[in-house]
Subunit: 193 residues, 2 copies
């Protein structure tokens, strides 16, 4: 199948003039399905990372209990999840915009590289934070902190688990945006190969 | 410029028959420089991750001191670094093979995807291990473990720092192997775009 872009670049195989941004119905349908999948992954990443940061933020059980901000690793977990939640929200908006208007929010070349670069960096950030949180959590398990206020440790566990789920969906998004970058390099457009 | 691969796929623009694996001198030189850079990154990743795993493995200071294998996170650091060291050694051999013989160790399509996939997965693994190790290390700093046997904590710190350096070079290798995958998808060959 010819890519839509190949038809745009000055070629004109039919004798009738074509509309410049013409795509075949099949390729539009495929693009819509691809974008919807991306939207679902973004939504999941947003929900999980938001939930993780809220769980960590509210992790204080009275003045006698330890606070999450007393531990470096938990501060890192909160910060990384909050950053990813904000970024995912932005990407959600960009995704909805793209599906509804059929054009990217930024210029196309900027958009595909922006998405891919940020997905990669934030996936590393989130994994690093969650791993650090897990190690901290395991270190705390043996100490008085967890025996005295068990709720604190359980809530931290939940927050970190939600963060790992967020990482998973961010990783999936990163695969899709990587695919878009490759498509863009090959076709000069974010559409399928 | 035409890619060398384009000439291989049945085309024959000159009236004289061509040697099947002919590359222009410029593209061979570029390929060699690219491969040498990859080799340097692999070597650095191998050295750093090997050093990190050896530093962690020898981190026992007499029977009174704590051992590295008493801590989950430090076991993880050792295991991840050891895995990456073995993988980097294999990739070093594959790289030297490719530079000396001009052909990949595995069939080309397998090789480019193998390299890229493993680089990605092992980079995440190594980052995760080092982050966990760092959090463990910070948790230990406040306890008796570090005040009683300071050498143990310092050696763990060094091991983790070496591990982060290994991650950095593995990340660079991953960029190069990602570039080779894209080249391969576009040209049907691992050579430049």
């Amino acid at each position: 199948m010819r890519s839509p872009q190949a038809l745009r670049n000055g070629e004109n195989p039919s004798p009738h003039p074509r509309i410049p941004h013409f795509h075949s119905t099949v390729s539009v349908q495929k693009l819509r399905r691809f974008n919807s999948l991306g939207l679902v992954f973004r939504l999941a990443a947003f929900c999980f990372s938001l939930a993780a940061s809220v769980f960590m933020l509210t992790n204080s059980h009275g003045s006698a209990s330890p606070h999450w901000y007393d531990f470096d690793a938990f501060r890192f977990v909160f910060a990384a999840n909050a950053i990813v939640a904000v970024y995912s929200l932005f990407e959600l908006v960009a995704s909805v915009w793209e599906i509804s208007r059929g054009a990217t929010l930024f210029p196309e070349i900027l958009q595909v590289w922006f998405d891919f670069g940020h997905d990669q960096v934030f996936a590393y950030l989130l994994l690093s934070a969650n791993s650090a949180g897990t190690a901290m959590e395991k270190a705390l398990k043996g100490t008085d902190t967890c025996t005295a206020t068990n709720a604190f440790c359980i809530q931290s566990d939940i927050s970190i688990a939600l963060g790992f789920a967020g990482f998973l969906f961010l990783g999936f998004s990163s695969l899709l945006s990587g695919f878009r970058v490759v498509s863009f390099i090959i076709n000069g457009s974010r559409f399928h190969l």
